[in-house]
Symmetry: C2
Subunit: 202 residues, 2 copies
């Protein structure tokens, strides 16, 4: 379909749009044609919103989360408990945890996971900053909330070793069967973890 | 979720993105975060592609379809039969018919449908241009391919009356049961049309 839109620039927009996550070529065509037929300002507003976002959004100096200020709203919030630090991989993980509203401490975004095969070494992550914060901010507990992948496990272990010798408790999220999950559809490794991590019923 | 992204500009982008067709707030958030974490050039490329498209894409002087030149590729194509003209509502309808590759004549885009309640009068559509083309281009047949809605029917009738007295055949698309459609799911009006328009089996 995109070969016959009658305009190379329209086809180019479709191509660029279809690189976005969750947008196939049909949705991309639909969006491009919408922008073409919408008021001239709509496309400009969107273009401008994208450029503005890229220009102003930055990483929090303290935790690495998304902000437009030197420090993010969470780091600036005096009601957040500075003695508990939750380690996450990406700024987006902060949103997931905030959405669930289960954590009242502060975050520390690593910016990735250790992956020697992909060339991600400890110096590429915000690990120095983590140790510095643990030493300076009176942190008592570190909750490692990384993915339950091989890289996530390796990074969790690295964090635990990094903080050995500091008077800080470390913990990590439980692995197990997701709420509402049927045993039938749970993979073997998760099942084994859920089994070995079984808890008393009463 | 959008209330806690930590950046007003990111939230604004999510809001603008979620106005696009087929994009809800979850997809918009996903796209915005993708643009944030992608290479800086990605968001700029997309912004630029949108503005370029809006700047260069225009309506064909002859038929009203989408083009970047004074006339569209179809009007410029000498292999297209100029004696058959297909009337459509929007430039996007041209794509639909071209995709199906069923028509080898030329198009004429009206730019809308008559709708007195919405203030769309005959002078708002490209009807003068249509009569002019029928008179000047040696058109022998006009196929009216408008929606089977009330406005579409009214506009089709108006076109038929407009061309009365010109030596030109007019026809319109058949209404009936879509290919693969089950009787069970076909609405009553369509069913009635399909019934009254029934064709000999052999």
């Amino acid at each position: 379909m995109s070969a016959s839109l009658g305009s190379p620039r329209l086809e180019r927009l479709v191509k660029v749009l279809s690189r976005l996550p969750g947008i196939g070529s049909k949705s991309a065509t639909r969006i491009a044609l919408h922008l073409l037929q919408a008021h001239a300002t709509d496309a400009e507003t969107l273009a401008q919103a994208m450029v503005e976002m890229r220009t102003h959004v930055r990483a929090c100096d303290r935790c690495g989360a998304i902000t437009e200020e030197p420090e993010c709203v969470i780091c600036r919030d005096p009601r957040r408990n500075p003695s508990v630090l939750c380690i996450v991989e990406q700024p987006t993980d902060v949103f997931s945890l905030e959405r669930a509203a289960i954590f009242r401490g502060r975050y520390h975004v690593l910016g990735g996971l250790l992956s020697p095969l992909d060339g991600v070494e400890p110096d590429d992550l915000r690990l120095h900053a983590l140790r510095h914060r643990v030493e300076e901010e009176g942190v008592e507990e570190v909750v490692v909330a990384l993915s339950a992948s091989v890289e996530g496990e390796a990074t969790s272990l690295y964090v635990a070793r990094l903080l050995e010798g500091h008077s800080v408790r470390t913990s990590r999220l439980a692995t197990g069967i997701p709420v509402g999950g049927h045993l039938e559809f749970v993979d073997d490794v998760t099942l084994e973890r859920a089994f070995s991590g079984r808890l008393p019923l009463v």
